[in-house]
Symmetry: C2
Subunit: 423 residues, 2 copies
């Protein structure tokens, strides 16, 4: 069978089975799988995986993971938060591949900004709405449609296909770290995070941090007797804005040329004070700093530390009360795949074949678990998926259903070329 | 008996009964009478008042108060939060006086900034430490020592002395409003809030407000796709800083000449965002705006509203998403007493007599319940007390015990002259 025929077959199988994907996605979205609540959504996947005759491995990460240098999580255990891996064994002598998606979603945020229930899975105008549609249950459905298409069309691959549905991607990668510690490796990996069908050979790293800015309390009516931690926070925020400019001015990689801020510093949470007419004596700010694909995590940390040190020159208050810095919670290791890597070539050509146009190749504006797979597992990773970044973590998150099917088709064809087919 | 003799008698009575005051203050401080928890501290007072043979009135405010135009509280009821008033009837034909203190204290804030338990009532170096010592349980103890001294020395006044221990001063004055609605009026009033023994014929008003600043959520890695409510908050804060400057530049009252910011705008609480790597879609800021003694509350409100309107010129974002403004929680009406009022003269001369020095006369840097007594009750009010403003609402709040006794002596002598004594 020539490639052209595979495409025709796969394309028609997917066309005929769109409902399978839509139903699965809706079931996944209706399960609010925020951190610690992943269990039910994973069970939805398991019952689907069983129909595909894969070797299913469901387990809670733990044990040695807590002391691993790459471990990063606020959690003390992962009870009732299982990882799921399902392997489709190849017939032999083919290259293996990991297809990795995460089941956890970020919280829905301010409900009043959502038009509907964030977990409705409502379909309208070719889109499905809901938290997690784009980031990244839609991508996971693309993977499973690709696997199912090959199975039902009787296309047997030489290499192993290792499907992974991991926890904790949004908060440090303990799920994917757990798959590596359990021995899951492969010759390459694809992660269908929401790239809007752009191909991302670069993966930005990132880390979470917590700043503690001290003031001195006083009665609001004599606020000049105190020191407002809220006012001091403005100085801190402005210094971090400067740091972001300096760090981004250095990024010359052409893959970032369409990205307004390649490696952003995002301040996501602010909280301080406890009485309207008292001077706030403490403010905490939690945020994330982007790490360039070729940058060491340490280097980004040191630059942020230096920025906080610079504050002492701007305002002597910070000499007396240095800003507290805590690297907590989530961390995503950066990564990069050689643009000449064979998987890049295959994915590129399958995209052209299906879409009849050139793919856009860019660098990822956010971290994924791909950095861990590459840095710790030595596995080259491409991020390529159906959702759109702009919608991830947003109210009224949605995904265009058609993109899920296109990505499924491209990935199925990529698997054929990468893993090989016995003739 | 001539005045000189009253002073000698009162001075020695207080010297001999310092322990009475210290014990009472410590008992009051050890009861953490933050909003809704005032009951136990009021019971401490009641058992003390019983020994002084006063007519005691203990009641929970309610009924019509909730629809009164001056009512201002977040509370839906005041169950278990009684007001206490105790009247010492005069023998007749004298001027009456209200002696008003509040039993509520502001929360203790960040515990790590306190050297000891905030409710220890620890005594060291002539000071008692604890939340509420200075604001204003110390002042209340001065009042009760003055009343007890007169009683035990057999000095009978012509006019009524109406002692009040009210709730809710820190959050809108519903306690003092309740005393007015219950019919308590007098020819004048003294409130021993912490003036550091300065005499305050002016009372700053103030109001609480809540600002809601909208952003638009996005993934932190593509934060340029969202709008950070935290960044927008900086613009809002800076605009309010400008407004504070403009409003204070207008204050020419010489009584404010030693006050760096006569009518401050204090931003006490900030809160926004719910995920470190998401763009914050909403920030709320809660604060208080000072109202000049001769200013209408409405005028201050309108100026703040105009400032928020000005934001639309600075950043078009605010045209699309105007900052929400909510006048909530506490409100203190401003007030002013004529400096030629006879009570001013009496207090002035009694201060000189006891302290052998001139009193400082200034304008209050914060609101008190005095504004309500004046505006609604038509009662001229002087604020004069033993604590220090700088320490109010602070960690490690304390009061110099000696000041409590000095104020008690000055007030006892003032009562004699104001209410009159039958010869």
């Amino acid at each position: 069978m020539i490639n052209k025929d595979y495409q025709t077959q796969i394309n028609s199988w997917i066309k005929e089975n769109k409902v399978v994907g839509i139903e699965l996605l809706q079931k996944l979205v209706r399960n609010r799988s925020i951190q610690t609540k992943e269990y039910d959504a994973q069970q939805v996947l398991i019952s689907h995986l069983k129909k595909l005759n894969l070797e299913i491995d469901e387990w809670e990460v733990g044990g040695d993971i807590f002391t691993h240098p790459y471990f990063c999580s606020t959690r003390k255990n992962f009870l009732k938060s299982p990882n799921v891996v399902a392997v489709k064994r190849g017939s032999g002598n083919g290259k293996s591949i990991i297809l990795n998606g995460h089941i956890d979603v970020v919280p829905e945020g301010d409900l009043t900004q959502w038009t509907d229930d964030p977990y409705s899975g409502k379909i309208e105008g070719g889109k499905m709405y809901g938290r997690g549609t784009t980031d990244m249950k839609g991508g996971t459905v693309s993977l499973l449609l690709a696997i199912q298409a090959l199975k039902e069309l009787g296309i047997e691959l030489n290499g192993d296909v290792i499907f992974q549905s991991v926890i904790e991607e949004e908060s440090g990668g303990a799920g994917t770290l757990g798959t590596l510690l359990r021995g899951y490796k492969a010759d390459a990996a694809i992660i269908p995070e929401p790239t809007n069908m752009k191909i991302f050979p670069r993966q930005q790293g990132s880390m979470w941090f917590r700043l503690t800015i001290k003031g001195r309390s006083a009665h609001g009516g004599t606020r000049y007797e105190g020191v407002s931690a809220i006012e001091k926070s403005i100085t801190v925020i402005q210094e971090l804005q400067k740091l972001e400019k300096v760090r981004n001015a250095r990024i010359v990689d052409p893959l970032y040329q369409n990205t307004p801020i390649p490696i952003p510093i995002n301040l996501g949470i602010i909280k301080g004070g406890d009485w309207p007419s008292s001077v706030a004596d403490e403010v905490t700010i939690e945020g994330r700093i982007g790490v360039a694909p070729d940058e060491e995590m340490n280097h980004a940390q040191e630059e942020l530390e230096q920025s906080l040190k610079n504050l002492e020159e701007i305002d002597p208050w910070f000499k007396k009360q240095p800003v507290g810095l805590d690297w907590f919670g989530a961390r995503w290791v950066p990564g990069t795949i050689n643009e000449e890597h064979p998987l890049m070539g295959i994915l590129h050509s399958k995209f052209q074949q299906v879409k009849q146009t050139e793919p856009m190749i860019e660098a990822s504006p956010w971290g994924t678990d791909g950095g861990l797979l590459e840095k710790l597992g030595g596995i080259p990773v491409i991020v390529f998926g159906p959702g759109t970044t702009e919608i991830a973590h947003f109210p009224n998150e949605y995904i265009e259903l058609e993109k899920i099917f296109e990505v499924a088709e491209i990935i199925a064809l990529t698997l054929i070329d990468w893993c090989g087919v016995s003739s």
